[in-house]
Every structure is written in C-alpha cells, then in structure tokens.
Symmetry: C2
Subunit: 315 residues, 2 copies
C-alpha cells in the first residue's frame, strides 16, 4: 500500500510516494511564506503524489521543535510560523491520517529503513550542512524524548568561548563542524598563508574564502586543502565522540552537503574519532559511513513513519 | 519475593535485599584488590543479605564499561580488573541468576523505580562526585547502547582547551562540573582575592583550598562562596543543557557528594540551565531535582534489574 512522505525545508518541499519500500513518485515545490500558504503547499504537494483517503497515511518532516501531537512549536527557519498544528490542519485538508516529526528525525528513520543505517538498531544520523541536524535510533526505535524535541545535537556546546550561535549560545558544535565552520577554518588558513590554492580559488581575498573552495582544491589533490578538511574532521569527530560516550551506538551515518567531500573528510573523521572516544580500545569499532538517500532521506523517512512492525507513532 | 542488589565501588561493596520495593537488609564490605578476591567478596556480601537459589536474582552494579553479557571490559577504578566475566563467575558462586550493569546505570534505575525519578519516563541521573556518572532512562526503559556502554556523560568534551582528564582527553565535562572542578574554581577565586572566608578555612594557602571549604563557607552564608558555587552551577548546567538538547528529558536527578550543597548549588544550576537550553521558552520546563536514595541508589537499582513488567535484562 502507498504511503506518502513530505520533507518541509526552508526553501523547498519535497514529497515522495512509497510502495513496498520503493519511491514510485515524487514532487517538489518552493516553500511559501505564511502559515496558511505553507499548509496549502504541503497538502498540494502530498496530493500530487497520491495522498488522499485511500493511502495509508502521510508523514511530514518539518524543521524545528515538533511536539508529539504534531504541533510545530519553534521553527527559526520558517519565518512567521509559531505553534502551528500541522497534523490537525493537514488531516482536515487531506482527509487521512497524518504524522509529523522533526525533519532530521525523519531522515534518520529513512536511512534506517531504506538507506545506510539499515541493520543497525543503535545508530545516529548526523547531517552536516549549514548547521548540524541529528536523528537518533536507540534499541531499534526512534528516540523522540519527552516532547518530541530530542536530537538537537548541533547545539551541544563544545567550547564556551567559541563563536556566537544564532540559537543564543556560544560555541555550539554546529559552529565548528558545519559548512560555516569549514569556511571559518579556511579563512583562517588563508589569512595565515596555509591555503594558497584555496585562496586563489576565492580570487585572492581571504574574506571571500568559503567551504566549497576547500572541497574543490582538496578534490584536485591540494595538500593544504586536505589539512583544512582534517581540521574540520577533528571537530566532527569531537561531537561524534561525545555522542558515542553518551549513546554507545554501532554506527554514525553522516549526511548533508559536507559529506560530498567523501573520504577526504571521512578518513580524518575516523582517525580523530579513534583518538577522542573514551576507552576506544575496549570497545567494538563504531562504523562511520556516508548517508545514501541524499536529499530524499527526510521524505522517505516521513513516509516510513507508517512502517508497520514497530510502533513509532507520536504518543 | 526477595531480590538482592550489590553496588561495587572502588572502596566498598554495598549489598541490599529488597522485598516489595523496600530495603529489608543491607551489608557492606571493603573492596578487595584482585579479580578472585573481588568475586569472592561480591558473592559473600550478596549471600549475607540472602542471595541463594531461592531469591529471584542478584543484580550487580559495577564501575566502568560493562557489556550486555555481564563482562566488565574496562574499569579504571579497579586496578588489575580487565575483561572479568562477573555474571558467569557469580552465577557459579551463587547458584542463581545474576544481572550486571554499570553502577551509574543501576543508580538511575534505582532512582527511577524507588527514588526521585519515579513517574518520569524520560529522565537522566547525573552523579556529581569526584567525576561525573550518568544513567539514562528513555521511554521508560534504561538506555544501554549497543554494547551496554551508554551513559558516559562525564566525558563529553565541553572545552577542547580545558584541563587534562585521566581518560586521555582534554576538557571533559567532569573536569569542570565535579568536586575537582569546584576545587579548581575555588583555588582560582582564592588566588584572585575573591574568596576570603574560603581561603581562611583552608588555612590561608590558596593551593590547599578544596571544594568542601566552599560548601562549608557557603552554608555559613558567605557570599563569595555562593559566587563560586554559582560558577560551578553554570558548568553543571552547561552539560545538562547539552544532554537536554540531545535527549529532551522531563527531568534531571542530581546525585553525588556535590549535591549535599542543596539549593545553594541547585538554584544556580536551574538559573543557568534556563539560559543555556536551546529554545527554552518553547519547551515545557525540565525539572532539576536532588536524588533521594543517596549511597543506596546503585544497590537498590541493581536489585531492581529484576523488576517485572518492563524487559530490562541484558540482551
């Protein structure tokens, strides 16, 4: 039977239809501004891949703090959206059952059910993009927390004297182990004369150096760019080690734009992780692997909120 | 029916017998050195409170990394103990079923079943002593991780430039939010002339200032000592906020020697936590309460590993 999943992002909505674990249809639209326009767009994009009274249900992944009743409480990336009852409003519009969860939580479930995290009962998805998103599978089930807000791993403070974070804190992990963190490391390297090729790609101005200049230079074999990626890898590994000390997972699945750097990033992450994890020599190795579902992970995972077998519905 | 729980510490073993959730007997012995002596002592102390073929089982909480088969893999506080199969060895000696788990995990379960965490399905026990121990209850069950090693919360790195930790890392949370962290904050305050009464209690030598001088002066109403406790509270809150971002718990239960300072510590912890948690104004309040079972928490929790109703046995 068909299930539909929608991934709501700050700029686009992506809907997929799943049958027997396979994507059979998809559709995307721009994310409009305003609560009513947003709800209408979600309903439209879901309907266009088949949502309606005869599908098993529609899952929706949304950015921000979503409570277990499907109300989006806090969404810094969706201007003007506060306390929006997405589940109830979409059930009205679609006439069927809707489940709503955090987008990164959905992406973790997608990778667990259909991607790189298959076979792991204790696994954490870490999405390294502009910021860091996280979704946690513990004991084979999604870890949601008391209110549905679990998984805000990017806001672990790893350096109280670190850069300001839009969340209001200083030194959150996502200030370091993200695209913006890579940009800062690269600007510093360029300013200190440790990134000649990277600097050339940015037109010679250290202030214009960005993360993509590093990955481009690294892909061409530039050793200075490799060194900057290794610095980034150390920061990634620091947060992974923190999470491994707390959760003891079998694996981390890394997604998001930064992971397009591939082994150039993953190798230094693995090396640093082995150094940073407490008692590493007494533990089985923790796998660190790239995500495989790409931008579809969230929508697939949202559709998989209706997977039978394990109860993962909002309480 | 009677269950027996034993809490193995670096200096003592405490055994309790539980009937109907009540402690009906207890016994303690010094922790001996050496694997065989240790196993014999555990068997003796358990037997002296009634362990044997006719009790439901014996639970044992041990410090360090315990795998889900009951083997103690890594125990920095028990010299000479490596890869010790405590479950099998004790079952031989006692002739009944034995379950083994990490001591802080047991303490969390004790507080959950019989102490300050009753009624909470998502709650984290944080033990603030010389170091920091942790036990996590998520969705009403103990979170053990893939190997049983979950809950090493004291080794989250919160400042990569921080003090060296015996675990091999730098800037672990337990370097700041522990008895040794308080001592360092107090020595700094004394050296900078911000802790006259604390310094007097230490005989006038800043290098001899310890955490207990701070709590003693604070209990007498010394405002400078209160300020040092508030600094400690900030560091405690920093780690709690990290954990709350990740787990979204209903409550934290704080145990360990530092919590004897009571509200003098808990008030600044709560105030700083409210500042540090991402999106705090959009979340229900997270309770931060003192543990109530004291030194018995681990042994009671170990005995409660045999509580019927929820499957919490090692896999």
């Amino acid at each position: 039977m068909r299930t539909v999943g929608v991934d709501l992002g700050g700029t686009k909505c992506l809907a997929v239809a799943l049958e027997g674990g396979t994507v059979v249809d998809e559709c995307r639209v721009q994310t409009p501004v305003g609560e009513t326009a947003l709800l209408d767009a979600l309903a439209d994009v879901a309907t266009s891949v088949g949502a309606g009274p005869d599908v098993l249900g529609v899952g929706v992944g949304v950015p921000g703090l979503v409570d277990r009743g499907g109300v989006l409480r806090f969404a810094p990336n969706l201007p003007g959206v506060v306390d929006l009852d997405i589940k109830a409003e979409l059930e009205l519009r679609l006439g069927g059952q809707v489940r709503v969860d955090n987008d990164a939580t959905c992406a973790a479930w997608g990778e667990r059910q259909a991607g790189a995290a298959q076979g792991y009962d204790d696994v954490i998805l870490v999405t390294l993009g502009t910021g860091i998103g996280g979704g946690i599978v513990a004991g084979g089930a999604l870890l949601r927390g008391a209110n549905g807000f679990a998984g805000e791993i990017g806001h672990m403070v790893v350096d109280p004297d670190g850069p300001d974070c839009p969340c209001g804190q200083r030194g959150c992990w996502e200030r370091f182990a993200s695209g913006s963190g890579l940009g800062r490391l690269a600007q510093q390297a360029a300013a200190e004369g440790r990134a000649a090729q990277v600097l050339a790609l940015a037109g010679g101005d250290p202030a214009r150096v960005r993360g993509e200049h590093v990955t481009a230079a690294a892909a061409e074999g530039d050793l200075e760019a490799h060194a900057v990626l290794a610095q980034l890898g150390w920061w990634v590994a620091l947060g992974l080690a923190n999470l491994a000390n707390v959760f003891d997972p079998q694996a981390f699945v890394l997604g998001g734009g930064l992971v397009e750097a591939g082994e150039l990033l993953l190798d230094p992450v693995r090396a640093a992780f082995g150094q940073l994890l407490t008692g590493a020599s007494h533990r089985p190795a923790v796998a660190i692997v790239p995500a495989t579902l790409g931008e579809h992970a969230g929508a697939i995972g949202a559709a998989c909120l209706f997977d039978i077998g394990r109860e993962i519905a909002p309480a």
